[in-house]
């Protein structure tokens, strides 16, 4: 049995969760972070953490969602393509599955995620131009977090997007046997409103649970259910060629309908920009409960920095010592004699971040 291509993507392998698992990740991470930060507070000023009101997992998520919305505003300002916006959104959301807003404020991470997305989707912009268009931002603000963000994303930069799937479905609908030849013109409003649903879906967790094609289909189904059904059935009815026994079974309309409905409800219920007042309130409280080790100038920050430096120093010393002991032996300073060239291995073509 052959493996479907999508299942080879990192998105399928590493960034797919059940709804329960998602909320569990957020809750446990929030609890762990609160524990760590409370301990830090206590370590430097005993008793100071008792009256701090920490943000909870739900509030964190609210804040992140708000900054997801900010990304699309910023993309509109820069006139970035849809792909950049979608990719940056995914990066930001993925980042906060592994980090907490109390360590890294999304207003900073957002900028880095967007800048990273321009690079990974091959829509580069110079760092200076980028930073100069954003108030109160210098190039180093963007770059400082870049490695951290990349690390949190596990360097998995390729993202499959629902808007592309929507485009594909819209193209393929023209290929349906009984569709009008000018359907793309006359029914363009279907595509436009479906696209707005795709954009709303970016504010939700849909991409962590469902595949891009499912989300796109659900968005069409929200606008024109009959059309979506017709297209899906046309796909389900393609017969598997006799000589190909090793391909997976066809998507079945019945099994999919539950997923489609679930996505529809996710989009209609949570695909909204959070209330600004609520976000402001969270942000105000966040100022008091930020991890002091990450706030420049505090005692905890300085202590942490000193500790890090000590560690680095130790590491350096260890390395120097290691070199000294190594140097005693008869080691050719130019390295060993050149070995026969290694037989070139097969190139791993497992990356799917090509651009269209």
């Amino acid at each position: 049995m052959k493996r479907p291509l999508y299942e080879a993507s990192t998105q399928y392998k590493n960034w797919r969760y059940s709804p329960e698992r998602l909320s569990q990740i957020r809750t446990t991470m929030n609890e762990a972070a609160v524990g760590v930060i409370r301990k830090t507070f206590e370590a430097y000023e005993p008793g100071s953490s008792s009256n701090v009101s920490f943000v909870n997992a739900h509030e964190e998520h609210l804040l992140v969602t708000f900054y997801v919305h900010k990304i699309s505003q910023l993309c509109g300002h820069f006139r970035f393509p849809e792909e950049v916006e979608a990719t940056a959104t995914s990066y930001l959301k993925r980042f906060y599955l592994k980090n907490t807003v109390m360590d890294w404020h999304p207003k900073n991470v957002m900028l880095t995620a967007l800048f990273l997305a321009t690079k990974t989707t091959n829509n580069p912009i110079s760092l200076d131009a980028y930073a100069s268009h954003i108030p109160n931002t210098v190039a180093s603000d963007v770059l400082d977090l870049e490695f951290l963000v990349s690390q949190s994303l596990a360097f998995e930069f390729a993202v499959w997007h629902a808007h592309r799937a929507l485009w594909g479905i819209w193209l393929d609908i023209q290929n349906l046997p009984d569709s009008l030849p000018d359907i793309a013109q006359t029914q363009k409003s279907i595509y436009d409103s479906a696209l707005s649903h795709v954009r709303a879906a970016r504010l939700t967790d849909a991409e962590f649970i469902y595949t891009p094609s499912q989300i796109a289909l659900a968005c069409i189904s929200l606008v024109a259910p009959a059309l979506a059904k017709k297209w899906l059935e046309s796909k389900a009815n393609i017969t598997i060629p006799e000589n190909q026994t090793d391909i997976p079974p066809r998507p079945s309309a019945a099994a999919l309908s539950a997923s489609i409905e679930a996505i529809e409800s996710i989009i209609t219920e949570t695909g909204k920009v959070p209330n600004v007042e609520a976000v402001r309130e969270v942000d105000r409280r966040l100022r008091t409960c930020k991890n002091p080790e990450k706030v420049v100038g505090t005692k905890a920050y300085l202590a942490r920095k000193a500790e890090a430096e000590k560690k680095a120093e130790e590491k350096r010393n260890k390395k120097a010592e290691g070199q000294k002991t190594n140097g005693a032996g008869d080691v050719d300073p130019f390295g060993d004699p050149l070995a026969e060239p290694v037989k070139p291995g097969l190139v791993d073509y497992d990356d799917d971040d090509d651009d269209d």
Partner: protein
Amino acid sequence: MATKSNYGWLQGRTVRKGGHASSNSHTRSSTPQVQSTSTTIFGGGIKDPSGRTSEYFSMDDQCPVCKSDRYLNPKLRLLVSSCYHKMHVHFSVSPCESCIDRLFTLGPASCPNCDKILRKLAFSPQTFEDLGVEKEVAVRRRIAKEFNKRLEDFDDLRSYNDYLEEVEDIAFNLINNIDIPATEERIAAYKAANAALTTLNLQREEAEALALKEQEDLERREREARAAQLAQQEQQEREERQREERELIDKLETSQKDAHKIVAKSRIAAAKRSSARAASSSANSSLLGMSFGMDYAKLLKTRTTKVNNVPDEPHVPFLDDYYAYDDLYTVRAEGYDDIISEAVRRDREGIMRAGGYKVEEAWNRALLTAVAGLDAAPLSGLDEPNSLGDVDVVMESV
């Protein structure tokens, strides 16, 4: 001087352009070849059969012995002694030829500054401004003659590198006058031990140079042959054309047919012939080109002394067991009514497609995304499909 030669043409003398360009105030283009000094002795003076290397020459030259300088005696020629003493104004920066003749007519005499015995034969023309370089070149030429071992003569790279290091040590010592007697002893010992190999390598080098020369000769001959053939072809063509014209005129004179018809007929025939000729000549030239390419490859092969025999590995195409949904969709051959790619498709000059962009590929990718993972069931519950236990790792590590 420069002015003089600039007006040489006025006096009916030939003015050599290239020679003039190089004979500025620092070099002399024509090194006199009569002097035995430049060819027979160890060291000094670059021996260059092509004659492109010129003797060092400066307007400030002055003989340290008789004090005559270039202003008084434009033909002044200074020679370098074999002790290369830069410090000693006297003999190192070179007495002039006539002084040498005068001083050494009675046989060898010692250098007044160092005690080295100098002979008339050991004076050589100067090529480089810096006498240190002059000396180094001489030393290295001498060393290279003796120490000509190659990588193939050693068991491994390490010992070859050791050998090179030793050679470099010796050269350094000789250049900088460090421990000369000991170094000479080392050279003598090496010479005795490796006489056979040295001669063998010398022969090898000669053989290689010969082979290279032969290759180049062959190539040159082929080029000439090709040029001759081309010229012959052109000649033939010209003759043929003339003949055709004559025939046409004859026909027009004698025949009773319509003149227009005759002209048209002969034109068609001429066109046929010329196309046939073009075809045959292109076949010919491609043949020649091929043989030339092969020659060149052969030449390259002889140039690289060591031929690497790397066996060709069979090409293994990249095979995977992925299913790319290719039976679930087809890209419509006639294209789509698509507003997103409209600008690209309307771009007649192909500016947007310059980098190899193909709208069909973008469509293909979109269609693939549209059907990819349609049937993937969402995860449910808290069971972990893949060990994603590193949720907090990043947070802790930074």
